[in-house]
Subunit: 354 residues, 2 copies
Amino acid sequence: MPPTIQDIARVAKVSRSAVSVALGPPSYRSGTRVSASTRSRIEEVARKFGYQANVMAKGLAGGRTNTLGILWSLTGPHLSASMAENIALRSHRHGYATQLVNHLCDPAITLKSLNDFKRRGVDAVVMQDVNGVLETPGITKVLGEFTAAVVVVSTPWKTSINQIHHDRLPACRQVAQHFAASGRRRPAILTNVGPNDRKIQAFLESAAQHSMDVTNDSLMQVPNRPDLSSAENYWRTLEEHFENGRQFKFDAIFCLNDEGAVATINWLARRGLRVPDDVAVVGFNDGPINGFLNPPLASVERRDDQVAAAIDEIIFSQLSQSDSSPQRRYIPMRFAWRESAGGEGGFSISGGLS
Amino acid sequence: MPPTIQDIARVAKVSRSAVSVALGPPSYRSGTRVSASTRSRIEEVARKFGYQANVMAKGLAGGRTNTLGILWSLTGPHLSASMAENIALRSHRHGYATQLVNHLCDPAITLKSLNDFKRRGVDAVVMQDVNGVLETPGITKVLGEFTAAVVVVSTPWKTSINQIHHDRLPACRQVAQHFAASGRRRPAILTNVGPNDRKIQAFLESAAQHSMDVTNDSLMQVPNRPDLSSAENYWRTLEEHFENGRQFKFDAIFCLNDEGAVATINWLARRGLRVPDDVAVVGFNDGPINGFLNPPLASVERRDDQVAAAIDEIIFSQLSQSDSSPQRRYIPMRFAWRESAGGEGGFSISGGLS
DNA sequence: CTGAAAGCGCTTACAG
DNA sequence: CTGAAAGCGCTTACAG
């Protein structure tokens, strides 16, 4: 029903191959060429017919499908979903469709999805490393089979695959520094362990270095309860931790997501503790309402837009050129001061870091 | 490199067509059949080889690609992104890949994307109607060309395409009823106009019916400022509206998203107005932290999970059977009471609605 | 019940 | 500089 390369060839009075070459990317011109005049004639006819190459045929015959595969963890606080959306939007601007897969941090799903991308002729892949999914055997090999591939990692990875190091640790240290610099003494960090171990360590080490009171109690573990929202989960964790009138002794809490921080502030309020006067609270991810909460919620800014821009740049430059020397980018998250953190903003941004 | 149908055929000592038929869905068996014994032999070989059909070849030859296209508006408050993610996850459970496109509420992009889905062999489509995107000429026709298609609409649509009516209006009326029943007299609704006109009307009409004071001022327009977050935008709108000491006279505000409601509460607090004592506030979308805000934020529950389940059911039943009589579902949003709305919960849910 | 053949719409060597 | 041909890996009539 839609016009094929055959139709264009007939009307333009050339062979099908001429059409293919004329309409394809410069790379098709290898060995074979079409004169500028026939080329523009072909383009004219194609435009008139509204010709769009059949993607499956192109892919099957060895050409590009103009498809980007996105392999992301979309569960949990919604920000990761908006990240995927950002990448998809940029991809479409380049004329690329996107296939979206939630790898759920599962190595088996990850590998299976990458192979599925191959069978589907996906040209390039961007994937997020979570929970060491990249350790999956064979993953480097299959990533290498795509025309372009980028991984977003929280820890540098020892391969030649393009990577963006989206570093959480400097921000964790900044939070500790800010607490110390603004006079807090008894810090705590509230999160689920496993994926967050390095953040926990960075925060607590930095807190200890600044002579704060770091004890075993400073880490309050939030269990994994996928049926609960983060807020609910944090709230219950605090309830369980301090039931039977057990003393709450902290003056600064770092929550590893904003929802949990909101719940924490609420919980503190019901205990008669004020934020930031009695307890400083900092969240993570810096959601768009943080500035309008009461008190405004300090957080860690992800800078996902920068990550998306870097992905865009790497993928589409390698997709258009044949030069594909491995690329590396570094994008650190950073502490975003607001009143809930206590003290003053300028303090930690300049003084605190100097 | 990966095994082809040819390889399987050779080892199983049958023809390629036999393999195709044996491994394909029941529909392939039309006219042609394979004995149970050869079939299981073929399946055995395929399993041993880890055979996965090449999707592009399948699609090109007229078969299914096991791909679902998702055409959604992903901008704005992040909830829509998590909706797309929900659909994608369900799709993968059925062995279907997903192509995600943000149609940005633009008719041209919508039509272009649907055609692109066709060229790519996408089997089924689910799309969200926003801003009357479905009015685009030719859209019914192209939707009909897919094996299955579902649209999610806020107003019933007069075609035979499968549709899910995700109705916002009952919830808007419930909010008005609740305000009236709990003694409020001067309601306002705060939102951008255009896409929300029918919600505004439902709210204000219902408020008037319950003898509240509805005036021209009751609608406070939030301008479209895509560079601002919703919270920021609502805040500024209130500032602009009541600058120069202009009197704030409302005792109940309905904000058409939660972020805006959070900003509104913050703005009221700075004016010395308490929620809900002086002003009742209700948001929209019922985000996961609403219950942990101070005061807990009443809202409108979208029930997106129900919508996703309905999409799943319709799409994949039509994809597996050839029966495809048009389906319709009705899923109303509903008012979710919390303290910011004033009065009492049971009140509006039972008494308020009776 | 099974196999040989044509064809889906492209790309890419390979001759001219 | 251009065209005829083979082939990508499948599905689906169509003969046997």
